[in-house]
Point group: C2
Chain length 143, copies 2
DNA sequence: CGGTAATAGTTATTAATGGTAACTATTTTG
DNA sequence: CAAAATAGTTACCATTAATAACTATTACCG
């Protein structure tokens, strides 16, 4: 499947730019959206939860959460374990989730225009398989 | 197709990281590889050619070419039009192209392990359709 | 119990990547 | 020939994320 990466990666810039434009109305970028999305779907969580889920380092999430706090989309409350801060969506955060969710879903539908349902589905299902293969094989050592 | 972007972007990070690790042996990253790839497949070219092809701004390519020059993988020679500099691969650049091409193709094959040929093909064909839709629709104005 | 290791989170620094604006040098156009 | 267009560069800035070093708290274990 020579040329696959090229096609795959070529799509990235247009997509991320479009998404960021889409969300700029709400002062969000896709990276911030990920945090909101996680909180909405997993409930109040710690920074480490989020970092593990997206496979990024802790400082990355610290920054994102601080930005979301400035915009008052999330709040941090101390956990029972006093090392932890539990991050949760505010009312505003929930509202923005709803608005963005709709916009993103609309875009997800519109980029699939003219593509047969079965082809959409196969592509949808193939991506995680590829990711599994990468995580398994290219994890760093190839054993 | 809700959740498609999520899957797409999640794969992106693993893929680009793996590719960059793969090429770090040759002091390349994927962004530098793109320039080498273009030169190999289109022959000696100008900076503007490359920028147009990848849809990025000129300074972006200036930087990449300068890095490749430092590594002596490309040279710039003055064109007949004396504004232009024609960029071309050196011997070393060609060698590195070959070595990387092989590594990348190997990786392209290995990430498809366990995925039926037809599914690979459909995914391969669907990606550019999605990109077309994005470029058409989200180009900035939606007309 | 007390000390060491582990964990949650932060800050500072750095790197990769790419856009915008402003500029020079040359060529094209009319 | 003057003005517009084009190729390329430089300087500056934004986004994103990794690493290292640090504080505070909790868990573990002899």
């Amino acid at each position: 499947m020579e040329g696959f990466f090229q096609r795959y990666l070529s799509l990235y810039r247009s997509l991320i730019t479009t998404l960021n434009e889409l969300m700029s109305t709400y002062e969000l970028s896709y990276s911030l959206w990920q945090v909101i999305y996680y909180l909405k779907n997993n409930g109040p969580s710690t920074l480490v939860d989020i970092a593990n889920h997206y496979n990024v380092e802790k400082p990355t999430i610290t920054r994102r959460v601080h930005r979301l706090e400035e915009f008052q989309m999330v709040v941090q409350i101390p956990g029972m374990d006093r090392r932890e801060k539990v991050i949760q969506l505010t009312e505003l955060g929930e509202e923005i989730y709803q608005a963005c969710r709709k916009k993103i879903t609309d875009l997800e539908n519109s980029v699939m225009a003219g593509i047969a349902n079965e082809e959409q589905l196969i592509t949808f299902q193939t991506l995680p398989k590829i990711q599994d293969n990468i995580l398994r094989g290219g994890g760093s050592k190839n054993e």
